[in-house]
Amino acid sequence: MDPAWFLLKAHVQPITNMVKKFKDNEKKILLAHGSGGKLTHQLIKSFVKKFRNLPLAKLDDSAVLKFKGKLAFTTDSYVVDPIYFPGGDIGKLAVNGTVNDLAMVGARPLYLSAAAIIEEGFSLVELERIIDSMNRAARAAGVKIVTGDTKVVEKGGADKIFINTSGIGLIDSGVDISSKNARIGDRIILSGTIGDHGIAILSAREKFDFQTKVKSDSQPLNGIVWEILKVSKKVHALRDPTRGGLATSLNEIAEQSGVGIEIEQEKIPVEEEVKGVCEMLGFDPLYIANEGKLVAFVPQKDCAKILNVMRKNRYGKDAQIIGTVVSRHKGRVVVKTNVGGERVLDMLTGEQLPRIC
């Protein structure tokens, strides 16, 4: 064989790849992708190929998993608009969100399901980009996506793509974390700055003419929780303050544990730009969503060592003790303001609307 043929082939290969990519670019999700026929299989395969793992590769109707011990099980749906935003995308969010929900009861996240509802006409290239992003997030968090589903709906029946993920994790013996378990005297630790995700989404929506460098904080928290549990299993409550922000999470814990909470405004870290947008639109960062922060209720005795390991973790380097659990005003959260006043911090009521007057 003419050795030059190899050379030629080597050269040709990338070009054909490019052509193929170019064609893919125009490929859109069709209703037929959801028909159960060949196109559906192709679509499912594109997921299976990326998420490569044993239970999934079997392509049975269910993934079969072995467990021993206490299980945590959670589910959440992701409909974020826009689907790409500074610091992440819907895929990363869908994996981290469920990983974090598992971590908040002290579970080690193991397996996830992923189901997508896709609008007819959605680009296949974009879909691939989102699958890649889910894959990267799953690897980073050390979880496997072992089962999944896709459905295609008519144009207008969904907004581009919606993703649901469910997750299963194992809880070690001796760990009992619940929003009912906060106790009087507990110290409250926040793992970092608040409001980044909500403001990044708002900026990406382009409804308002302003530019920021704020990025979503979408990140997995199972690692930091693992570090915390290694030094103390006596963590009473954990929450990741997503929708409704820190204020809402604290209120939930105060109510469910039947305790009072006091926090210090000046201890709560907020990025300067997040502060700027909030001042501009009349928002309160305490009500803005986060996707990679946690608030921990821990006994005073273990507080120092927990804070120490948190600050050593890349996702907790700005961790701060922000307050205490008290016996006064049960079920309510009180903030000590910057100037030394006090106010009640309620849950988020309705949607925060920008106000100028």
Partner: protein, 69 residues
């Protein structure tokens, strides 16, 4: 009723300025503060600069606030 926040002028082109509010950048109409210069601070209300903020006056205010009597 009327939220307005301090911003620093970065650039001026006719009636429009690029302003910085704690790192957030946006365009602001500065026709109401005709003598504003780059580097100065203005109050932004709904995308318009409504007045300059006097640095000297702000310092004086802080002095007054700190007064004991």
């Amino acid at each position: 009723m009327c939220l307005a926040i301090p911003a620093k002028i970065l650039k001026i082109e006719d009636n429009l300025a690029l302003v910085d509010m704690a790192g957030v950048k946006r365009q602001a109409d500065i026709r109401m503060v005709s003598n504003a210069r780059v580097g100065e601070y203005v109050l932004i209300h709904a995308g318009f600069a409504i007045e300059k903020i006097g640095e000297k006056e702000a310092e004086e205010t802080l002095q007054l606030l700190r007064e004991i009597i």
